[in-house]
């Protein structure tokens, strides 16, 4: 009968979708392994190059393992702190700006965050260094100012693309506004918000290098000291290490994205 035909068809489609879903959701094992292996090879090559080369005093100083590790760790801290600051500011702001009561606030708020992105980070760093202080904190604030707009915008887009009928049915069943936000809207916006955070994180890793100009510890120090001491080898190693770190961070963020995406989407 047509009834059973219909449900047969439904089962077939469902089976297709169910099988299709995990593949789209996560990469194959090979896909996951490629990036860390490639980065590992690059690091080994860097190490081989350093250890096979006759280093002068300045180079020995800057390319010592414990110095590199210290700078790498400081670089990671800068990245994490600035991204955490972005997360704390941009996501709540993005949420508020999508609420109906804040509709009139949206254009000026976006314009404000635009300033942060429009002013070159190096300029912002210089202003902070002169007007405030050198080192870690001004760098964190400058990085956060630069990338907040991305996350604000993605949070807004993520929340706005949630199907209006889903929200209406949630409200119609008697869910409070807060629980619609926390249980329906935010989970459904996670993929877009995560994409924004990942972009911000990647930009922060790269841009943190500039912290070296105002005295923040980071891998940028290798690059800057290579330039100022006329030691291009140090600059190149510094550059490679920043690139490896940036790719690694982006890779980890990608994995986080895969696992935080709600099932069923």
């Amino acid at each position: 009968m047509p009834d059973t035909e219909q449900s047969n068809l439904d089962q077939k489609t469902a089976a297709l979708v169910a099988r299709g879903a995990p593949a789209g959701r996560r990469r194959s094992l090979l896909g996951y392994l490629f990036m860390p292996v490639a980065l590992g090879i690059v690091l080994v090559l860097v190490w081989l190059s350093i250890s096979s080369r006759e280093l002068d005093a300045a180079e020995q100083n800057r390319l010592a393992l414990d110095y590199i590790l210290r700078m790498t760790w400081a670089h990671i801290l800068l990245t994490l702190a600035s991204t955490a600051l972005v997360l704390l500011i941009a996501i709540p702001v993005g949420i508020i700006l999508t609420r109906p009561f804040a509709r009139t606030m949206t254009p000026p708020a976006i314009a404000f965050f635009n300033i942060g992105q429009a002013v070159p980070t190096i300029g912002l760093l210089a202003i902070f260094a002169i007007a405030w202080q050198f080192g870690f904190f001004p760098t964190v604030v400058a990085l956060a100012a630069y990338t907040s707009l991305i996350v604000v915008r993605n949070t807004m887009v993520g929340l706005r693309q949630v199907d209006a009928s889903v929200i209406e049915s949630a409200r119609g069943m008697g869910m409070t506004k807060i629980s619609v936000l926390s249980r329906i809207e935010l989970p459904l916006a996670v993929p877009v918000i995560m994409a924004g955070l990942r972009t911000a994180l990647t930009i922060n890793v790269g841009t943190a290098t500039l912290g070296a100009f105002i005295g923040a510890d980071c891998l940028g120090r290798l690059i800057v000291s290579g330039f100022s001491g006329n030691r291009p080898y140090i600059t190149i190693i510094g550059g490679i290490l920043v690139a490896v770190l940036a790719l690694l961070v982006d890779y980890l963020a990608g994995i986080a994205e895969d696992f935080l995406r709600p099932k069923g989407l």
């Binding site: 219909q6 439904d10 979708v17 009928s165 409200r171 119609g172 069943m173 008697g174 989970p187 069923g264």
Partner: protein, 397 residues
């Protein structure tokens, strides 16, 4: 008025809605009483305010003025979230939560009402079975893995999860293909016979309104009631030109969807058994005024139409059951006359064969039967309308 107090589930009193920045109110002082356990359809042209009216009942849209009573209680000012948990809500796009499984979707309201886990799980199971979906197969699926019709069923199950007395349905079958829609409508009507909810149902489709409604409110602009009555009476006696226009031509045809085959007297057609010899069949044929005999199998199920030509060939050694024309246009007693007529028009001998649930032959419906039904229905309604002016004794069922 007093004797009907217990049977009114929803009462709207002078309800108005004026949206900011609009000159005309969307709904203007609407008063209406909705009886317990009935499907009341709000139908009207687009922009007439029918959806706004419905959404004011669970206060998704807050009324500008007027009052809403639910089961005698004034709910105009109560906490809207708590109110909504008592009212089922189904919208056209269904709005299932895509990141939650079917079971989680259905459990939404029970969870808010703090039911314990076991009770929720049992309820989900019960509801899935009620809407004809195997719980084991579908409980843990996500909405995107379902077809449109299945999502619609889950939407209805979710709306009924906490067993509300009242359900609001906004074009619930609007986004579904016609064949599935018809099936879901029938399923829903069957379900309603058991659950007896009070249902406010919004549609713009008068045919759906006639099919689904116990009562229909035809709304003009600003949600003014043009007529609020049973489908039969609206079809027979439209209150004004607006209603007549809205029903459109073919009111008689539409009326046919209100009666079912089981309500009419069946005629008989000459029949013969599958194993009968050509001579026996010819005798049956000659004795009747028809040009063919209906061949039945051993379980009385209709097989084929056999006429004199076929019998001639059967004499030549062909088996009777391989000759003749397939018996098409078979309907069951619960089919509407409108469906039956549709089958009949395309069928040979302008006849629809009626079978019971086991597909055994019961009789036939022909064009005369339908003609007669339309006539008696019209007379009956006219007769009922006259005493109507003084007292309303209908609706005892």
């Amino acid at each position: 008025m007093t004797d009907s107090a217990g049977t009114i589930e929803i009462r709207l009193e002078d309800l108005s809605k004026r949206f900011p920045g609009q000159k005309e109110p969307a709904v203007e002082s609407l008063s209406m009483e909705i009886p317990k356990g009935e499907i009341v359809i709000l139908v009207g042209p687009s922009g007439c305010g029918k959806t706004t009216t419905m959404k004011m009942i669970n206060r998704i849209i807050e009324p500008t003025s007027g009052r809403i009573f639910l089961d005698g209680e004034d709910v105009t000012k109560v906490n809207p979230d708590h109110l909504r948990r008592r009212i089922g809500y189904v919208i056209q796009q269904i709005g299932l939560f895509p990141h939650q499984t079917i079971a989680e979707n259905i459990a939404t309201v029970p969870k808010m009402l703090d039911w314990d886990k076991k009770k929720i799980a049992d309820r989900v199971e019960e509801l899935l079975e009620m809407v004809g979906m195997d719980p084991g197969q579908y409980r843990d699926r996500y909405p995107k893995e379902l077809s449109g019709g299945q999502r619609q069923r889950v939407g209805v199950a979710r709306a009924m999860s906490a067993d509300p007395d009242v359900m609001l349905m906004d074009e619930p079958f609007g986004a579904i293909d016609p064949i599935t829609r018809d099936r879901l409508q029938n399923e829903f009507l069957r379900l309603q016979e058991d659950i007896k909810k009070t249902i406010i149902f919004v549609t713009h489709d008068i045919d759906e309104a006639i099919k689904m409604g116990d009562r229909i409110a035809i709304l003009k602009e600003r949600s003014q009631i043009a007529q609020f009555d049973t489908p039969e009476r609206i079809l027979v006696n439209p209150a004004d030109d607006f209603v007549a226009d809205f029903i459109g031509r073919g009111a008689s045809l539409k009326r046919l969807s209100l009666s079912r085959v089981r309500d009419v007297e069946l005629h008989q057609w000459p029949t013969a058994q599958e194993g009968a010899s050509p001579d026996e069949v010819r005798r049956v044929l000659d004795a009747s005024d028809k040009s063919a005999v209906l061949l039945l199998d051993s379980q009385q199920r209709p097989l084929r139409w056999v006429n004199a030509d076929h019998l001639g060939r059967a004499d030549g050694g062909h088996e009777l059951s391989k000759l003749g024309l397939p018996a098409e246009a078979v309907v069951q007693p619960n089919a509407t006359l409108s469906d039956t007529l549709n089958e009949m028009i395309t069928a040979r001998y302008s006849t629809a064969i009626v079978v019971d649930a086991d597909r055994a032959y019961q009789g036939i419906v022909d064009i005369d039967t339908i003609n007669e039904t339309v006539r008696t229905m019209r007379e009956a309604e006219r007769g009922r309308l006259r005493p109507e002016q003084t007292a309303d004794e209908e609706d005892g069922q």
